[in-house]
């Protein structure tokens, strides 16, 4: 399930949902992305997260379908927050359960690499010097291209 929401999420609850009544799930990987204090040497105070409603969900569904064609995934969950977020706030949750750890690790990393380069979200950083739109990073493109 994909959720785009302003509200925070709870990692313990999301983990519980990924494995509830599923004794086939031998491996569960979760990733959480958070607002951190230093980005490219700027002191970040917070983020404003904009997205393209509708296309966000559609692009994430396509990314999940790709992951499912490459790895054996039992359950998955993507949550991306939007709006104003502050230092230490959770931004994104990706969770995958699988029989085997390789499938869980690789599909979770794939989902994040693709989300970072294909899903229409944009971050505006709030720093002491004002706000500035984040530039996309070459290393994210490279991370994504590993899977091609």
């Amino acid at each position: 399930m994909i959720s785009i929401q302003q509200n925070d999420f709870n990692v313990g609850d999301e983990y519980a949902a990924l494995v509830a009544n599923d004794t086939a799930a031998g491996a569960v990987v979760t990733f959480v992305g958070r607002v951190r204090d230093l980005n490219l040497a700027r002191e970040v105070q917070g983020l404003q997260l904009e997205h393209y409603p509708g296309m966000t969900e559609k692009s994430l569904q396509e990314i999940v379908a790709q992951a499912q064609s490459r790895w054996k995934i039992l359950r998955w969950r993507i949550i991306h927050r939007i709006g104003n977020l502050y230092l230490g706030d959770n931004i994104v949750f990706v969770g995958v359960s699988s029989a085997h750890r390789e499938d869980a690790f690789h599909s979770a990393e794939f989902l994040m690499d693709y989300l970072k380069t294909r899903a229409p979200f944009w971050k505006k950083e709030l720093t002491a010097d004002g706000s500035v739109w984040l530039d996309s990073q070459e290393k994210d493109q490279q991370a994504m291209q590993r899977w091609e």
Binding site: G33, L49, E50, H51, Y52, G54, M55, K58, S59, H80, I91, V92, M112, L115, K116, T117, R118, A119, P120, F121, W122, K123, K124, W133, L134, D135, S136, Q137
Partner: protein, 82 residues
């Protein structure tokens, strides 16, 4: 009509989030681009950014994409979520 959306930094640069264009003025994405920069000369600088992405009906496409009435077109900068 074709619905045109702008997001993030591009929306702020153009000072416009959404507008409509008659399909006769925009039979392809390339024509729509030309029409917009013709109507709004100040936008050219921002719309000519090679890094901009374009989506039609919420799927990223190339500039050769053919448009039809009812399409939702979006222009936006490279994404930075996650």
């Amino acid at each position: 009509m074709i619905k045109v959306l702008f997001f993030a930094q591009l929306r702020e640069q153009l000072q416009c989030a959404e507008l409509s264009v008659a399909e006769s003025d925009a039979q392809t994405l390339a024509q729509l681009h030309e029409y917009l920069t013709g109507q709004h000369p100040l936008w050219a600088e921002f719309l000519n950014n090679e890094k901009l992405l374009m989506a039609v009906n919420q799927t990223i496409v190339k500039v050769s994409q053919v448009l039809q009435s009812g399409d939702e077109v979006a222009f936006f900068p490279p994404v930075t979520g996650g």
